[in-house]
């Protein structure tokens, strides 16, 4: 029988991991699968949380409705983001531009700029402090299982993560749109020759990925009761790391890596000062990349 202390830490680690995973999923769809460098996902996550919050304070709907409002806000944000920060750069279709690093990093910058604008705007409107959330909406009611304590939010997040994971896997592997997404990410020009509407495919991916990100935002916001304009930053970095550890384009890989990160954080807190726990997470990242240079489930490099 394991020490209940360790069991509790494991449970906390798993729940942390699921939270990272929740954010990593949408991020992986846009950044990893579609292969578009998107630095504004953290803000989409925050927008989801604020949209949900505004719904709660405006008319106090049931939780499920709040989640749908966040989803819708995320979808809208994703749509706008793609239109403003990504689509304009597709006007350059000559080979020099397509293969240029500068062009690739340009979308990195445009999405970064959008994220700055969105975050500053939210700070102007709402202030940078934690928003007060109606406590009844928080999903942190304790549940005791033997010696360990979890909260109802853990179960909700687990459920949503599994749903998203399953849904995305189905979408990517079994549906025509998934095939198009992978085709566009692999070779956008080739996709055009095959009659794929690349603009539409990219927009759809953004909408789905951002809706997922926004849902993650409101769920995590309600889980911790902490909704504030820069709330997307830390989980954003963790999701980024998890995505890359998983191999960029693999959604299950990202989820597994997110759980590894969560577990390593909570377990390392047991053995060393908590300020160093991130050190362990990043050490895991480096070790993973040293032994799996393409991440855990990444594709191999092309032959010459």
């Amino acid at each position: 029988m394991l020490d209940p202390y360790i069991l509790q830490q494991l449970a906390i680690g798993l729940s942390l991991g699921m939270i990272y995973a929740l954010m990593a999923i949408g991020f992986t769809l846009i950044f990893g699968v579609l292969n578009v460098v998107n630095f504004a996902h953290g803000e989409v996550y925050t927008i989801g949380a604020f949209a949900g919050l505004m719904a709660i304070s405006a008319f106090g709907p049931p939780l499920l409705v709040v989640l749908f409002i966040a989803l819708a806000a995320g979808a809208l944000a994703g749509f706008g983001l793609e239109r403003m920060a990504f689509r304009p750069f597709r006007r350059f279709s000559d080979e020099a531009s397509l293969k240029s690093r500068a062009m690739r990093e340009a979308t990195l910058m445009s999405s970064l700029a959008m994220s700055i604008i969105a975050r500053e705007a939210m700070e102007m409107v709402f202030g940078s402090q934690f928003q007060t959330v109606d406590l009844a909406y928080l999903i942190n009611k304790p549940i005791h299982i033997g010696p360990i304590t979890i909260v109802n939010g853990d179960l909700i997040i687990l459920g949503v993560t599994l749903l998203m994971l399953g849904g995305l896997q189905w979408l990517l592997k079994k549906s025509p749109i998934g095939l198009s997404i992978r085709a566009v990410s692999n070779n956008a020009l080739g996709a055009k020759y095959c009659g794929i509407n690349t603009d539409r495919t990219i927009i759809i991916t953004f909408v789905i990925g951002s809706a997922m990100g926004a849902l993650a935002g409101i769920l995590v916001g309600l889980y911790y009761g902490a909704i504030f304009p820069s709330m997307g930053f830390t989980p954003g970095i963790k999701a980024f790391v998890a995505m890359v550890m998983g191999g960029l384009s693999s959604v299950p890989g990202a989820v597994i890596s997110a759980i590894i990160l969560g577990l390593s954080e909570s377990l390392s807190t047991s053995f060393m000062p908590s300020v160093w726990s991130d050190m362990v997470a990043y050490a895991f990242l480096l070790l993973t990349l040293i032994f799996f240079p393409q991440g855990l489930f990444g594709a191999r490099r092309e032959r010459v």
Partner: protein
């Protein structure tokens, strides 16, 4: 000269803007009241500059204030990091700098130009240690944020507490903005302390309290004046019940000064003012009092001397006297959360 100019550097944008905005509001209240009182023949003006809590911007603003020959004194910054970087400039140029919150142990020691009106943790920690001792608490865990301030919270408490025969069973620092304290709480519980002494601001505090409740950790929690904020209770709800802390400012206190400030504040805010805006309100008033004292021979030098001479200044956070290092000496009150409000305890 048709007005007296002061500078105030503070974060008005960025992650810590909520604090800077509060400072600005509090300062405006103090300034308006002062200018209306006719204590000086000319009005005083405060120039606010946004430092974003970024040291680069902080030193640039400091240079800007120093360049402006009309500015005689400066308030701010919020964080010690930025205050300390800017202090190097004020030190060299010879301009008084009074920070409402900088709590780095070395801040006031930088030069004769630096002052602060926030209590040092040597003071606050000792009061808390004594308080626990009085209640017969012997084993304590210390949790504080990983900043210069958090470090001083731990140090300020541990030294007197151990000297008095107490035992610190566990010390842990956390990075500001940590979302999840549960690992730390689990570890803390494992050490079975009689009480926890904490150094956090209200946002981290609310998270910590909620998660303590979530994990059913029924251990008394002590904290510092930095946690004194109505929003802590609002964010943490039930979980805040029973929190014990020391404070220098109680908006409920029936003191004319305090009530004046609180009434003005309530006109534009839906929360009672917390510790920080009260600090800013006092800082501005201390500075203004010094301006009056030095007027009309108002120079940076004379203002500095007037600030240094502050003694028993009656503010909303209690009476302030600067010692020879520019450190404040203050009265601390004990408070607790009971029934969703802070109440003074004996």
């Amino acid at each position: 000269q048709d007005s007296v100019k002061l500078g105030y550097q503070l974060p008005l944008t960025g992650n810590t803007a909520q604090y800077g905005q509060d400072f600005k509001d509090a300062a405006e209240i103090a300034l308006t009241k002062f200018n209306a009182s006719g204590a000086l023949p000319v009005p005083v003006e405060i120039i606010y500059e946004d430092s974003r809590s970024d040291a680069k911007e902080g030193v640039t603003i400091a240079r800007k204030f120093v360049d402006d020959k009309e500015i005689v004194g400066v308030l701010g910054d919020f964080t010690s990091t930025v205050s300390m970087a800017a202090a190097q400039v004020y030190k060299k140029a010879g301009m008084v700098q009074l920070s409402q919150t900088a709590s780095h142990p070395d801040f006031a020691k930088i030069s004769k130009w630096q002052f602060r009106n926030i209590t040092t943790q040597d003071q606050e920690g000792a009061v808390n240690a004594q308080w626990m001792m009085d209640k017969g608490i012997k084993k304590v865990a210390v949790i504080a944020e990983q900043t210069d301030w958090g470090q001083s919270v731990a140090k300020g408490f541990v030294e007197p507490f151990e000297a008095a025969g107490g035992e610190v069973v566990y010390t842990e620092f956390f990075n500001r903005g940590l979302a999840d304290f549960r690992s730390i709480i689990t570890k803390l519980e494992d050490q079975a302390p009689d009480a926890v002494y904490t150094g956090f601001f209200y946002e981290d505090g609310a998270q910590f309290l909620k998660q303590m409740a979530q994990l059913d950790a029924e251990i008394p929690i002590y904290s510092t004046s930095a946690a004194y904020n109505d929003q802590l209770i609002e964010l943490a709800g039930e979980a805040a019940e029973g929190l014990l802390l020391t404070a220098t400012f109680l908006p409920t206190r029936m003191d004319a000064n305090v009530q004046d400030f609180v009434t003005e504040w309530d006109k534009t805010h839906d929360h009672a003012p917390g510790q920080f805006p009260a600090q800013a309100y006092d800082a501005v008033n201390i500075m203004l009092a010094a301006v009056v004292k030095a007027y009309p021979d108002l120079t940076r030098e004379s203002l500095r001397d007037a600030v240094a001479a502050t003694s028993d200044f009656p503010g909303v956070t209690g009476n302030t006297t600067f010692d020879e290092n520019g450190e404040p000496l203050k009265e601390l009150t004990k408070a607790s959360v009971v029934g969703g409000v802070f109440v003074e305890v004996e």
